[in-house]
Amino acid sequence: MIAILGMVLGVVAGLIFQPNVPLWLEPYLPIAVVAAMDAVFGALRAFFDGIFSDKVFVISFVSNVVIAGLIVFIGDKLGVGAQLSTGVIVVLGIRIFTNVAAIRRHLFHA
């Protein structure tokens, strides 16, 4: 319920403010989105598992996004930004797949 409300709110806010990403932040946006997706799907699975906690969700979301961006930033400074991005995407992708598979099992029992 609250999640759907938040989504609607997000769409409305995005349409109203039309946020423009500054150039220096642009390389970190995709990885931040993937990290946020990981946190959201983890939260969704925890919700279906019956152990969802708002506090944990908020903290994990923010820390995921910040850490993912930081890793890519440091990788850029070291000259291995692309490789580190790939590593982060692989790990987060596996987590997202696992969580989505668990959610699917909860929803369809298959």
Binding site: G14, P19, I51, S53, D54, R105
Partner: protein
């Protein structure tokens, strides 16, 4: 699967299979990296909260975070699509530039081809005219020497003449005296003559203008140095044998005019301007 947090719930079959995967030694605990990642797909903190915190404050925070997530998602998507649009526009622009440059290049290459054709044609005509042009050039320089328009150098004699020392009345050099001198030198075989650096050309007049003598409309100042290019062995002797030379010997002996003749190994004479405005070449004249 100790920390999954979903232990109390009924396990789906797929999950059980993952749990029985053989542990890989030497990495995170007794799990391999991939197993570890899949086992900890949900944050461990969710399992730690026994009673879910559902206060109004944290629910608002969840709302805000989800809204933030959606905004992030939409922004990233629009940014990517916007970049794609500008990328394709750039690519089209580059393509246009490439084709424009290619056309330019083709035009220049065809121009090069035309110009090189022209060059080879001109080269052919030049080599055809080479003999003629060499002969013409030699003839031209010969005519320039004879007419006095070309600077020349060579052996010859230098005749220095001047008024008598402390002389007066008739004891000065006149234009007719200089004319006599120049004519005598021509007669003795001189090929080019100049007076005080003024070349005697086919149009030169030596005449009195008031007190001064002018050659090529330039006033001469004393002494008058007449330089002649010719055979140095015979020029002076042949000049002395001419009536003009005799006249000058008389002038020297009777009036006391200065008259020095010296043989010079190297005489240099400048060329003079010869402006012809009226005379034209007669057609059919080969000489």
């Amino acid at each position: 699967m100790p920390a999954d947090g979903s232990a109390p719930l009924a396990r789906p079959p797929g999950h059980a299979r993952q749990a029985t995967a053989p542990p890989v030694p030497g990495s995170t605990g007794d799990l391999g990296l991939l197993e570890y990642v899949t086992a900890h797909a949900v944050d461990d903190d969710y399992a730690g909260t026994d009673r879910p915190d559902r206060s109004a404050q944290t629910r608002t925070a969840t709302l805000v975070v989800i809204a933030l997530f959606v905004v992030l998602l939409i922004t990233a998507a629009t940014q990517t699509s916007r970049n794609a649009v500008s990328d394709s526009a750039e690519r089209a622009d580059l393509g246009r530039q490439v084709s424009a440059r290619r056309n330019d290049l083709a035009g220049k290459q065809s121009r090069i081809k035309a110009l090189s054709r022209q060059i080879s044609g001109l080269n052919a005509s030049l080599s055809g005219n080479a003999k003629l042009s060499g002969g013409t050039r030699a003839r031209l320089s010969l005519l320039g020497i004879a007419a006095g328009t070309t600077a020349v150098r060579g052996p010859g004699v230098v005749v220095t003449v001047d008024n008598a020392v402390n002389g007066s009345g008739r004891q000065v050099v006149l234009d007719t005296d200089l004319q006599q001198l120049v004519n005598g030198l021509w007669r003795a075989g001189a090929e080019a003559i100049g007076i005080n650096g003024e070349r005697i050309t086919s149009l030169t007049a030596i005449r009195q203008a008031g007190e001064a003598i002018t050659v090529n409309y330039a006033d001469l100042s004393r002494p008058y140095v007449v330089s002649a290019i010719g055979n140095p062995a015979t020029l002076a002797a042949r000049f002395a044998a001419t009536p003009n030379g005799q006249t000058w010997l008389d002038l020297h002996q009777q009036l006391g005019l200065r008259f020095d003749v010296t043989v010079a190994a190297r005489v240099e004479l400048p060329g003079a301007q010869a402006n012809l405005r009226v005379a034209q070449v007669m057609k059919g004249n080969n000489r």
